[in-house]
Symmetry: C2
Subunit: 782 residues, 2 copies
Amino acid sequence: MKHYKIEKEKGRLWLIEDAYSPLFEEKTEAIFAQCNGYMGVRAAHPFLSIEEKRGMFLRGAFDKAYDDEATELVNCPDVTWFGLEINEEKLHTDSTKMLSCERRLDVLSGELQIRYVFELALGRKAEVECRRFASADDRHLFLQSYRVRLNGGEPGDIRISTGINGQITNSGVSHFHSVSERVYDREIMESIGKLKKNAVVVLTQCTSGDSKPSKTDFVLKRRSIYGTYCFDGVIEVEICKVSVVFQTGEMDGDKACGHVRRASEKGYDRLFHEHVSAMRKFWEQAGIRIRGMSVEQEAAVCFSQYHIFGMTPYDTEEFSIAAKGLTGEGYKGHVFWDTEIFLFPFWLHVCPEQAKRLLGFRYIGLDGARKKAKDYGYKGAMFPWEAAGTGEEETPLYAALNIHTGKANKVWSGIKEYHVTADIVYAVERYYEVTGNWKFMEKRGYEIIFEAARFWVSCAEKDEKTGMYVIRDVIGPDEYTEHVDNNAYTNYMAAFCVKIARKYAVLLKKEKPVLFEALDKKTGVSGELDTWERFLKGIYLPQPDRNGIIPQDDTFLSKPMLKNIEKYRSARMKQAILLDYSREEIVNMQVLKQADVVMLMNLFPWLFMEETVRKNVLFYEKRTVHDSSLSYCAYAQASAHIGDREAAEKFFENALFVDLNDNPLVSGDGIHAASMGGVWNCLIYGFAGVWYEKGKLSVRPHLPDTWQEMEFKLIVRGIRIRFCISHQGIIMESEAKLESSIHVEAEGKEYEFQGYLNISRKREGREEWNKRQREPSLTWMG
Amino acid sequence: MKHYKIEKEKGRLWLIEDAYSPLFEEKTEAIFAQCNGYMGVRAAHPFLSIEEKRGMFLRGAFDKAYDDEATELVNCPDVTWFGLEINEEKLHTDSTKMLSCERRLDVLSGELQIRYVFELALGRKAEVECRRFASADDRHLFLQSYRVRLNGGEPGDIRISTGINGQITNSGVSHFHSVSERVYDREIMESIGKLKKNAVVVLTQCTSGDSKPSKTDFVLKRRSIYGTYCFDGVIEVEICKVSVVFQTGEMDGDKACGHVRRASEKGYDRLFHEHVSAMRKFWEQAGIRIRGMSVEQEAAVCFSQYHIFGMTPYDTEEFSIAAKGLTGEGYKGHVFWDTEIFLFPFWLHVCPEQAKRLLGFRYIGLDGARKKAKDYGYKGAMFPWEAAGTGEEETPLYAALNIHTGKANKVWSGIKEYHVTADIVYAVERYYEVTGNWKFMEKRGYEIIFEAARFWVSCAEKDEKTGMYVIRDVIGPDEYTEHVDNNAYTNYMAAFCVKIARKYAVLLKKEKPVLFEALDKKTGVSGELDTWERFLKGIYLPQPDRNGIIPQDDTFLSKPMLKNIEKYRSARMKQAILLDYSREEIVNMQVLKQADVVMLMNLFPWLFMEETVRKNVLFYEKRTVHDSSLSYCAYAQASAHIGDREAAEKFFENALFVDLNDNPLVSGDGIHAASMGGVWNCLIYGFAGVWYEKGKLSVRPHLPDTWQEMEFKLIVRGIRIRFCISHQGIIMESEAKLESSIHVEAEGKEYEFQGYLNISRKREGREEWNKRQREPSLTWMG
């Protein structure tokens, strides 16, 4: 975290960029973005700056500009720009002397503060301070305070210009068919940007407390509107800018002005107070307190949770989490497996209602997934590799041209990266496990599972030699190997999917015949039962070889290793390997972009022998470039799980700083959402070793030596349980009375609770614990 | 010209901006633009800068992005950006210390040179020099040289990045449906941007002479491609960047790479030499040499001619001259009356072939004009107030919303500014007068005139009281008065149009019956003759009142004067009056945006008594804000014409510096094309007093006292005549033998020439001349 400093004060935890840093501009804009689950506003300077990539993204504001372009999250009109003129001297970052610049994000409240000192003509100085937040209390509200102070005590004329700029594009692609602006009552500016399906409306009002401007001019330019507020002979002035942002259909347009006005009357500080109260509720549920962690690590953990909060559509199941959250144009705001596998667990244990909404998004998208399956000649539902606002596949068929051959590079992940269809089922099953919400299962969950199972069985083939079911020509999570047969992750996940599908189908048929019949009508499940049974008996699940290594796919182990892997692991540029090798060459080497087999082990922590996990982590990590941000957290979790603390800490450190590192080349187009979920998974599933499955809550911690205590809360079966884990002891307390009994296993010791859960036990010595060899629990495959 | 310095050296005449000036950035980009009649490239810095408005415009590259947007000249992919890294230090204008910056335009060659000195780490210095030109020899060619030199003699690693950036938009509106890029042979980058009707293709190659780069990386980003050229351990490096730019259909795409390669082989200096040779031909024909003029004035005159050259579509009649040339997004690249009234005279006398092409554009657009007339319930052809690539009206029906009422402001000029239809006829008639090209008239000219006459007669009404034909509810050239009856300019021009239409019709009917019949079929002219005669007898032409003032319209003289006009005349912001008064209030005052009645007097220099001209110039100028760039040149020409040297010089100075003034708020969206033509009109028709009409070439000079001699060439009746006018004498010589005899009147003395024209006479004393009172020659109304 060399580029960002940390500062901790009462109730605040600051990430700080303490100098004007064009090289880091795009990165810092993304990392310091204000996000509240509805909007994400990049932390651009209030002034125009050379390397800026200003942006505001709204959950659900998708548009497809042209046939040749993908559907993407629209970069919406900007409200963060402020022009400043002092005594007729216009401030520009490329000509005005900037004596200091500090930009800081409070990862607890999400408030951004930026401070500058400028040198004016005759050596006079001016301080400028900006503050911003996207309200967690009123999600359509974006607040800014802009304060200018002339140093030296001599008053001057200050002119501040600000408004709404609809000239913003997605890297040159404009989505707005038209942008129209007006001013209400010489107070409130409005901009309406029309998209194909709806419109983005921004209203904004500037107030300046008692120091009223001597004059206010409103200027309309093409696609932009701004007001210039003139203050004559003043030493200090502060403007509070309230912006209300919504899409047509979300808010009553006629009432929006009143909304702005009421907010303006409250002012920045009171609205910030309301916002902080809302954020506090989040932290009360989600916060993880770790004594002994460095302040950098603490900030990084909070940073990831702040962004998980900010990236998750807060009130709807119409949309899900984008791979870059709401912080940039990267991946076009699309939803990947990242949501279900990396981010879902957090919400599952912190706010199951939100977790349900994420699954709801997939349920709504079932028709799109059915269509995709049909298009590719399969049955059931084949979920999109990339989704936007619907269930339809949004992965472009072709990426940019190969610049040298002029031929289009086909994008195979939309066609061949099947595993997402099992990943979603995995999340559904985890949801059912942890919440026991059978209503959800009956309304939606079973249907997803059955349709996914139908897909998997339809895409498996019977191998003529072995007579086993194989899944050919796929891409696993590791995208550096394409068109492989029997990717271990994919086959195991497919088997898991079909297995639970069959289990539920048999159960429902017997115990809920009416429901079963209804589901049968939708999915034809009754005709599948025998096929599924045959599939489960015959599916090929790669087993550890004589060295204990589970082959990533049929050919992986026979390929030569990449010799100079260190070069690419240490390269500042991601995927630098593509500069030296063609994609085809990479596919034909033992080189991984990210964890693949290891991911599987994380998802089923008790499926493989500990020794197998250890060997595979070691084996595959040596071959992994970590070019995916999903990689470090996965290795960290696996290493923590098997008690390899040294490796776990190393990988965890890398995962924590996937965004916060000092490499200016990463995160510019948005933060790495999945990695933030991965950090949580590593903390809770890895270091704290908490896992709930089959009615049993087990706790097998492997805290790093330097950590004295971990304290956090998880919701299991509707009850929030407080965990306090140290090297000395484990405390677990439920906040409320359990509805049914719960089985707890803490470091091998078993408990059964009814009513309140309450454990407080001393831990046995670590060495002793480590000596114990775990038995694999292959129960679900039994 | 406080902002721009002047420097004159052998064969060069430089406009210089000698400091980095963000405030003037947009203005200087437009003024210093490289234009060659095919392309116009704004003179943005090679680095990104805060206030930049980078742009390249191609004649004919029009597109309409959305229904709500107007058809406009597309801002095309940029080739002028260069990234620079020296010893891993990346240069940014907002963080790297710039010790000096100088940007200069040679108005003779159009070459741009930009020089910087930067301070690097450890106090080392680097010089950067850019040169650019748009070739006049090969109009699809844009050349750049980019040279970096490390001062101090210590070699370093220099990385230069440059390519083609298709992310450029028209102020946030993207026109390209897709932009695709590739690289040929690791040498030539290509970008193809698809518009609705065609595509813009840019190819670019960088070569570096003997100092080959150690490595070249090509990077593809969304809608942009660039190469990074790495030079290790060097002190100096120079890159020559050749760009070939065309629209599909203009060049064989397959051969374009060869085109680039051949140009690269020639290199910057040789191509520049070829370009200068082509420019020299232009100057030989168009140059005006004035002894005694200040170097500032000389530069400004050459500046205006350079841009007239650069703004005029060079090889086609498919397109005409845009109001801002090819230098900015202003007026969306649309064609106004500016072309025929202000710019046409230059080409008429410098290159009649080009003048004919400009009229050809209107002829091609006749169908559009017929449609417009029909749509508005008139006959004949009603030419568009704003045209783009066709004859159809492109003036938006509504301008931006009134920001305070939220209601759309109707744009009346497209509906009510009729006079353009007479202005075009005026240019046709002038063309015929000066060239005698009867073939053009038979093929196209008469048809334009007849259709225009039909329009005029159909839109005139018979006044019930007076029984005269009146033209009601129009806008004259002065757009600060709308919806007026009997605008003097409009009525006179309409009468002129119908008068010559009837003259030609009668003549053709008698002498060329076959042609007349053909034209009759197209225009129904035979049925119009009586109507036209009635119209000409009855048309109301406002006459001077008892004060000698020709009323601008029926109500103008009865309105109150604007009291504080000086406030708006001296305001830096154009149309500042609109901040204080509503459009309706302005319409109801005696206040003009620009010359109106005075324009009429310029077009018919012998129509009114000199005294009448004098009175009207004085009267209306007092009421003129000069908020239109067409104003000063018109007043200058009129004042020169009547020998009011003092006023003429004052207005001429203002006209000369319409773009080159030190007001950063003007010209940012493009130079003022019409004013540049107006400067020429003022010089030739005003100061030199040259006029050719009805077979008579008259010369009645009014040189400013400080000018010793004016020397220039004009083409009249196909023969180039050299003029040399001083206070002492007048010399006129034809370059070739006259085809027919010519009548010359030089300061009242009459000559008749056959064969070679040759006059060399001493001028009579000025006082004597001034005493002579001219008789008005109302011949054409006789």
